[in-house]
């Protein structure tokens, strides 16, 4: 090994010091917004997250249930409702967004809410309603607070949590 090589090998590690001057690119998640390279906030409108369904517009066609590749959507007959409504199981959903594409009235929509966690698996089956919009700012959802129905013996379901017609702006 010649002398210049020795000098090179001794000096080279110190080149790493230049990284001290760079801005860190860690996203400190609870305290910081996740931005892309130009500083625009993520996720964007296109993000495929948890569903909302406007019950005033939904015509109960059931296309969303038919197109779902994961068998996640079931049309549920709710007591006191004239129409059946889609109920989504998030233990099945793969967030492909086909249900949104196929919806003829654009009432079913995938929001950008991406974080949904709970201690019990039961709460992951719920009825998409505009109530979800309450959580939109933080991109996280408390599934236990959303509109949920329970099947009764006669095949109909009763709503046990939430009010599907509540307006959220």
């Amino acid at each position: 090994m010649n002398m210049s090589n020795v000098v090179k090998r001794t000096v080279r590690p110190f080149r790493a010091l230049k990284f001290l001057g760079r801005k860190p690119h860690t996203v400190r998640i609870p305290h910081e917004q996740h931005n892309d390279i130009e500083g625009d906030p993520l996720p964007t409108e296109r993000y495929r997250g948890v569903h909302v369904n406007n019950w005033d517009e939904c015509i109960s066609c059931g296309l969303c249930a038919m197109v779902c590749p994961c068998d996640a959507i079931e049309m549920v007959q709710i007591e006191g409702e004239a129409k059946v409504r889609p109920e989504v199981s998030y233990g099945r959903c793969c967030f492909c967004g086909f249900c949104e594409d196929v919806c003829p009235k654009d009432s079913l929509h995938l929001t950008s809410n991406h974080t949904m966690l709970d201690t019990s698996y039961d709460t992951f089956v719920f009825l998409p309603t505009p109530m979800l919009r309450e959580f939109e700012k933080e991109y996280r959802v408390e599934p236990a607070l959303l509109c949920r129905a329970r099947k009764k013996d006669d095949g109909k379901a009763e709503i046990i949590v939430g009010d599907p017609y509540r307006k959220v702006e």
Binding site: A65, M66, C68, D71, A72, I73, E74, M75, S89, R92
Partner: protein, 195 residues
């Protein structure tokens, strides 16, 4: 430090030899095969690829014939369960790096007690494909020494990729699932039950 080209002196081994691709178009190669194998027929497709139907007994000689003509890359081996015809269709996909064409070699074997000669001697790559098909379809490959347990473990049912294996029934029995939208399921492909 990496130079533009470096000399390998550390570990020399016997795995050596330059590969020189041979350029024989698929149609000519198929004609050569047709001359030697009785009962075979070929068909040219729209996209220039050639499809060959050969008797299952001559698959070994067809494969070595193609290999001789530069179809060195054994792309895949597909087994299709033609339950209505009571057959398994085996599709051998070959590719020539020189001619840049694809050849499908198809052959049918009976569904009862299925067995077809292994092509491992010609194409080493086939060993894993045959192993998988043995497990998923129950087709035997005499001549392949590595037909051991592959992907499934503790499996007791019939070979799962066969059409008469009802996956949803099996899952309902074993894992106790609920089918939320039964309308979306496919019609059964059994011999009795239509398409």
């Amino acid at each position: 430090m990496v130079e533009d080209s470096y000399d390998l002196t550390k570990r020399k081994d016997e795995r050596s030899g330059e590969y020189v691709p041979e350029d024989i178009p698929a149609e000519r190669a198929a004609d050569e095969v047709l001359k030697k194998v009785p009962g075979a027929e070929s068909r040219k497709r729209k996209d220039g690829r050639v499809e060959l139907n050969v008797p299952s007994t001559s698959i070994g000689s067809v494969m070595s014939e193609f290999k001789r003509m530069g179809y060195d890359h054994f792309v895949a081996l597909t087994c299709i369960d033609l339950i209505k015809e009571d057959m398994f269709e085996m599709v051998y996909h070959l590719w020539s790096y020189g001619a840049r064409t694809h050849v499908y070699v198809k052959t049918n074997i009976p569904r009862e007690d299925p067995s077809i000669e292994s092509v491992v001697e010609v194409f080493r790559t086939a060993v894993t494909y045959e192993r998988e098909i043995k497990e998923m379809f129950g087709v035997d490959f005499p001549g392949n020494q590595r037909l051991t347990q592959f992907i499934l473990e503790d499996w007791e049912g019939p070979p799962p990729m066969r059409k008469d294996f009802d996956s949803i029934r099996y899952v309902q029995d074993k894992f106790d699932i609920k089918v939320r939208n039964p309308k979306g399921l496919p019609p059964k492909w059994t011999k009795e039950g239509g398409k």
